[in-house]
Symmetry: C2
Subunit: 388 residues, 2 copies
């Protein structure tokens, strides 16, 4: 087990009706709020009205940034910063999924940055201070509600960059599983694949001596495997939504990676898909994962697959190791299939392989040559092609 | 899943050599420290000298409270408070196991309390402020290094009271598994039983809908079952010590009980054993657990035992449910046996059953009649007798 420093400061109010605590949380930091949201589903579900009424009743004023994109753009960040400056905003309140929260995180930091937000994204170590951020989560997927990451796209340069800084942990997150009842089947499936991908990145990193963390990752994966398909079939199943929501937070808040270090190859490859084709992140991951797994399965990694197969899927442990590993990969794909996620890049609108080479080159930049199974540019192109 | 509020503020520096960060952590709060420790093993191992040298090099002054008892006494708390007041202490630094940290927590709160420390312990809601506390852990067991609990004894009244308050979370904890290399086999075994007991209390509480937390508890239990006996045989096995140490923190820091509520019957029964006979807490728990498990096994609880047996011990899931449950209990006792923990109260020096009735009555005070399998005074007496 590697040495580590553990510090997850986000406080979470979890469960039905916890939105009532929002004014108390906000007032710890101020009374002027920027509400950040996406396409308006929070208006259809009534959540928007609930929040605005709570603010009105409690003397909290607000301005709004709506229309945050599924892959949030730095141009939107800039609009948010301008709103904060114009209205002396004290607290940023993203209401939505990971895209909305990610966008809010970068607004919170760019507010204090003298320069273009994209320059800050390109070197986030320049961030020294942030506006406090409180999130209200409506989609179980990215874990942004309890982590220090954000991913921002630049549509001009086709770049999609992930940043990480302990400055951007939300101060509070309100997690009410009922707010995810209205998430469509497709987004539920993609979100579950995203949670699983976060765990796979760490689980398959190759650092040993972390028995406890490995077993916890299997616990989280079991939860996804069990409840992902159920949530797709029964969108108002509280236990399914609640377990997926809490799992989304723990898949990436830093706990499972204590004592490990990971290169995140699946995300490196997927970020290029999203940057070039604006595909749904979780779906892109679900297409890549089984192919990537086959690619990294070898004599050195087979024991990780064996643990995964036995402990997550209950595969017969008396089988040959490689057989267990193969079955585990098949069963992984089976979970994505069961949730209705198609398994080719063509099926999500990618019509040719023209960009694979430049995408592979950009993906490589994330240090994948240092991975437990080093990935070359050719490897990545071949994975993209097999996914095609 | 019940609603919950999650807030674990303790920051952890984990791994070999992390003690070097201590001066930086201390200086966040001040430069006058009360070092709290037990019987002097930290002097034999050199940890004491390391800390004092770090303090000398960094302009940090200290006073000392040594001799904290295995079941720490309120008289020792009082000594600590007097030292803090006399020397204007700004930070409390327990170095040791749960007893030492528990004692330090109550000192931290009693410092600001106008009255006898025992009166504060009897109604801890009177605590309004605490001195900051940084812990250096040398025994994986109670989880006090990352939780909000403390247990204090009053030798005059034979009372042993557990308190809980978010005020007493350590600000930082330094967890270096190498500091547990010198823990004797018996204390290693008792500590592991203590960790397991913390998980059992929550796992068997009867609240459903917490699939994810249940699987995580199984992950933690697997770690104890796997590494407890190894650490007893190989005291300098880093991975065993590291995994047990980190598991001790997560067994009770509040994470696994999110969405659950538990009555803690095993601890209620054991606290009376310790209060009356000063037995080693973890050993008392290990004697009680298999008997308690048999007592609560019925048609309503059998499914919990089935999950436990299959997921922790890999028991054949095609067996009859009751058979799986019985095997799971036998295997649990087998883990304690493998670590050398004897299985009767007589074997730990309890010579007669004279106090069982008054002990049962005191244990009941902790609300056990409201448990998933309600426990009456007669039930508890019969459990004590079966353990005798």
């Amino acid at each position: 087990m590697q040495n580590f420093y553990y510090d997850i400061p986000t406080k979470v109010a979890f469960g039905k009706g916890e939105i009532q605590k929002l004014p108390e949380f906000v007032k710890e930091f101020g009374t002027k709020v920027l509400i950040v949201y996406g396409g308006g589903s929070i208006k259809r579900t009534g959540l928007y009205d609930t929040v605005v009424n709570l603010f009105d009743e409690n003397g909290i004023s607000h301005v709004e940034l709506s229309g945050v994109e599924p892959n949030p753009r730095v141009t939107t960040v800039k609009k948010g910063v301008d709103l904060c400056k114009e209205h002396d905003v004290q607290v940023i309140l993203p209401i939505g999924g990971g895209s909305t929260i990610d966008c809010a995180k970068v607004i919170a930091a760019a507010y204090y940055y003298d320069g273009e937000p994209w320059d800050l994204v390109c070197d986030f170590s320049q961030a020294k201070e942030t506006l406090p951020l409180i999130s209200v989560l409506t989609l179980a997927a990215t874990g942004s509600e309890m982590d220090l990451f954000a991913v921002i796209s630049n549509e001009e340069t086709k770049d999609k960059i992930g940043i990480g800084s302990s400055l951007v942990y939300p101060k509070y997150s309100i997690l009410d599983p009922e707010y995810t009842y209205s998430v469509p089947r497709y987004q539920t499936a993609a979100g579950t694949a995203d949670i699983m991908a976060h765990i796979f990145e760490v689980y398959f990193c190759g650092i040993t001596g972390t028995f406890m963390q490995d077993r916890i990752m299997e616990a989280l994966l079991k939860t996804c495997v069990h409840y992902g398909p159920i949530a797709c079939e029964e969108p108002e199943n509280y236990d399914a939504r609640a377990n997926l929501m809490w799992t989304s937070s723990w898949a990436i808040n830093g706990m499972i990676s204590c004592g490990k270090s990971a290169a995140w190859p699946i995300h490196a490859m997927e970020h290029q898909l999203s940057a070039y084709y604006d595909v749904t992140h979780g779906h892109g991951l679900a297409i890549l994962i089984p192919v990537w797994m086959k690619h990294i399965l070898n004599d050195e990694t087979v024991d990780i697959f064996v643990n995964y197969g036995i402990n997550v899927f209950g595969i017969d442990q008396t089988l040959d190791k490689m057989e267990i590993a193969q079955q585990a990969i098949t069963k992984t794909k089976g979970v994505f299939d069961a949730m209705g996620l198609t398994d080719t890049l063509r099926s999500i609108g990618i019509e040719n392989q023209d960009n694979f080479e430049v995408m592979a080159e950009k993906a490589l930049g994330d240090g994948l040559d240092d991975y437990i199974v080093p990935l070359t540019k050719e490897d990545i192109i071949s994975i993209y092609k097999e996914c095609f």
